[in-house]
């Protein structure tokens, strides 16, 4: 019960912050959408970082490290440190300058003006909304999957949760509902300023709580050295073994009298691997990136009886590692990040964000990846549809103190909500500006019939509708067994496939309207083909580990260049507006 009270207290604090931000709201639509371009370096850093690090960063990374090992960090975190900062520098600052110069508040307004095309806006609108929606689902799912194990045992009569290991825990539907309502409340009242304040507070909370959880879990496992040592191993017979377990009642690590066999490799070990094991000890599949396939028994969560098997690939194929580098390019096309960038007061406001972002990623991801590989030694082998519960299970199993469990729980929810808020606000903003106001301007020649107050209320109505839709879809996605990390990768892949469009729009004068259409259609066609092949959101890679995102991006880039070169260049007026001479 204590963890729950702390989480509820944290949510109440957040609501208080939202109320405070509402009092500072200046009443204009520009203040509601982009905080009147008034945000300084520190708030921009915290809000951009909080927005890019969602449940994917804490819950997804721990689960993926549990599933694949240390390569998870190189796949997403270190590549993102380099590429996100590059995108902020090369794309973010320029879009901010165009936004401030021309008065844009949405990405679609920029593309419509740059490519002299209304229709491009109508093409991009459903694509951007469609790609942000799974990103929103990730947040709601991650929150629910974390809170369920952390609160297990608290309400056995109210939430028996049959068929899970977490009897008495707060079910996903309730956590999702509460989180959605809290975020809705402060976004609804405070708009962009409320979102940025809440993001800053939440980013500080989740960074501190992540480090605290890491330190406490390491202590419970006998220190970080021992925790790494007891990770799952593979012996010279090809058996996956766990040498230790965690006694929850005695709150200590216990060594099994004989190692527990939990799985076996699917192909015989090579002579080289056997020699390595005999010389250096058992293989530790989570601690290198060599690919090893292991088959595990699937056990019933309550009776522990074997009910089938599943296979897991440890390590990272090299081509996957290489092609994953295109995925962080997605930040260049995130509509919510575009809106975040526009809140900056000056171009120089970006400096701190560009420099500190890779360091912040390291502070959050290294502990999570280590917790994931430590979990391999002490948790039961979770099947693919349950790996998102890894962090929650480690926190509830290892950290006995309910106050600390509550604080860490608040930290995880902070990470999740700091992305949800920007995305809700962004979708409300683009519905209002790119559909309602845009159509009014086309029809009446201006937006005189919409005063500032009415515009803000239209945005708020859209935000309420989007929150309701997100909640409904996340309940459906949970029943369909969606994996937080894999769903996120599909969402990022779609945005990264559109990267050639934003890059060319800023750096290539010759790119044409037809080229932009061709790029979007080609990229999305390739993306959708593979998304469907994956079963609409499962892990999917091509031969050798190649990520479909790389092909979708290549298709978009080739179509953009080829079609632009054979079609009519943009008008001089547009070139002058977007590339004026000094």
């Amino acid at each position: 019960m204590t963890p729950l009270l702390i989480i509820v207290g944290y949510l109440a604090l957040l609501l208080g912050l939202g109320v405070l931000a509402t009092r500072l709201f200046r009443g204009t639509s520009r203040d509601y959408f982009v905080a009147s371009n008034s945000i300084g370096p520190f708030l921009l850093l915290m809000s951009v970082f909080g927005t890019t690090m969602t449940g994917f960063a804490l819950v997804g990374s721990t689960g993926k490290a549990f599933e694949r090992g240390i390569g998870t960090y190189g796949l997403m975190a270190s590549a993102s440190g380099l590429i996100h900062a590059a995108v902020f520098f090369l794309i973010g600052i320029r879009l901010w300058a165009h936004g401030k110069r021309h008065g844009f508040v949405t990405q679609i307004q920029f593309f419509r003006a740059r490519f002299e095309s209304d229709a491009l806006g109508y093409l991009l609108f459903p694509i951007l909304v469609g790609l942000v929606l799974p990103y929103l689902l990730i947040g709601v799912l991650a929150a629910g999957k974390f809170v369920l194990p952390v609160t297990a045992g608290a309400f056995p009569d109210l939430f028996p949760n049959p068929g899970t290991r977490w009897a008495g825990g707060i079910p996903l539907w309730l956590t999702g509902l509460v989180v959605s309502l809290v975020v809705l409340t402060y976004v609804f009242g405070g708009g962009s300023r409320g979102t940025i304040w809440a993001n800053t507070f939440q980013t500080l909370v989740f960074m501190c709580m992540g480090v605290l959880a890491f330190w406490l879990i390491a202590n419970r496992l006998g220190g970080p050295e021992n925790a790494t040592k007891i990770g799952m191993q593979i012996n010279d017979k090809g058996e996956a073994i766990q040498t230790h377990g965690y006694d929850r009642k005695a709150k200590r690590l216990v060594e099994h009298p004989t190692p527990r066999v939990v799985g076996r490799v699917t192909h015989p070990l090579s002579a080289e691997q056997v020699a390595d094991i005999r010389e250096n000890g058992n293989l530790r599949p989570h601690q290198a990136r060599t690919v090893i396939d292991v088959e595990f028994d699937r056990r019933h969560p309550k009776t522990k009886a074997t009910v089938g098997t599943f296979k897991r690939e440890f390590g990272i194929p090299w081509l996957m590692f290489l092609s994953y580098m295109v995925i962080p390019l997605s930040v260049g096309m995130f509509p919510h990040l575009f809106q975040n960038w526009l809140t900056a007061r000056r171009a120089k406001t970006f400096k701190l964000t560009v420099i500190a972002h890779p360091i912040f990623i390291m502070i959050v991801w290294v502990p999570c990846v280590l917790i994931g590989i430590w979990a391999s030694g002490v948790l039961p082998v979770l099947p693919p549809d349950r790996i998102s519960a890894t962090l929650g299970a480690m926190v509830s199993t290892m950290i006995g103190d309910p106050v600390i469990v509550g604080l860490v729980g608040a930290g995880v929810l902070a990470a999740i909500m700091s992305s949800l808020d920007s995305q809700f606000l962004c979708l409300g903003t683009i519905f209002t500006n790119d559909i309602v106001l845009h159509r009014a301007r086309r029809r009446d020649g201006d937006t005189a019939r919409y005063d500032e107050r009415r515009i803000v209320w239209i945005a708020r109505a859209f935000i309420v509708a989007i929150v309701a839709l997100t909640y409904g879809l996340s309940m459906w996605a949970d029943k369909a067994g969606a994996n937080v990390f894999d769903l996120a990768v599909w969402c990022f892949s779609g945005f990264s496939a559109l990267f050639p469009l934003v890059f060319a729009s800023l750096y290539w004068r010759r790119v044409t309207k037809a080229g932009a259409f061709a790029s979007v259609i080609a990229a999305m066609a390739v993306w959708f083909y593979y998304f469907r092949e994956s079963g609409f959101g499962g892990e999917y890679v091509l031969a050798g580990g190649l990520m479909p995102a790389a092909l979708a991006l290549a298709a978009g880039a080739v179509a953009l260049v080829a079609v632009s070169l054979v079609t009519k260049p943009p008008s001089d007026a547009t070139i002058d507006a977007f590339f004026p001479k000094r």
């Binding site: 960090y73 110069r101 970080p224 290198a288 000056r346 390291m362």
Partner: protein, 83 residues
């Protein structure tokens, strides 16, 4: 917005591009792919290398911000304020 040009700007852009590509190559880290030696007793070397790599990325962008900052963008955005 004003287009930055001239030999000084182009040289800086070229140097920054080369530095970013070098960092992109260093990310591949095939030299420690199979190695599980722990650094500081608990961080497998493949993870320790990439944690250090994150710091290197921050250093690269700090250098870029101070050496090749696009000052002209500030002036361009100010035109919006003037309007």
């Amino acid at each position: 917005m004003p287009v930055a040009s001239g030999p000084g700007y182009r040289r800086r852009a070229a140097v920054v591009t080369v530095a970013a590509i070098v960092l992109g190559v260093l990310h591949q880290d095939f030299w420690w792919w199979d190695d599980r030696t722990p650094v500081l007793g608990f961080i497998p070397i493949g993870l320790a290398y990439h944690a250090l790599y994150s710091l290197l990325a921050a250093a690269l962008w700090a250098w870029v911000c101070f050496w090749a900052w696009p000052d002209h963008l500030e002036d361009a955005a100010a035109e919006g304020d003037a309007r």
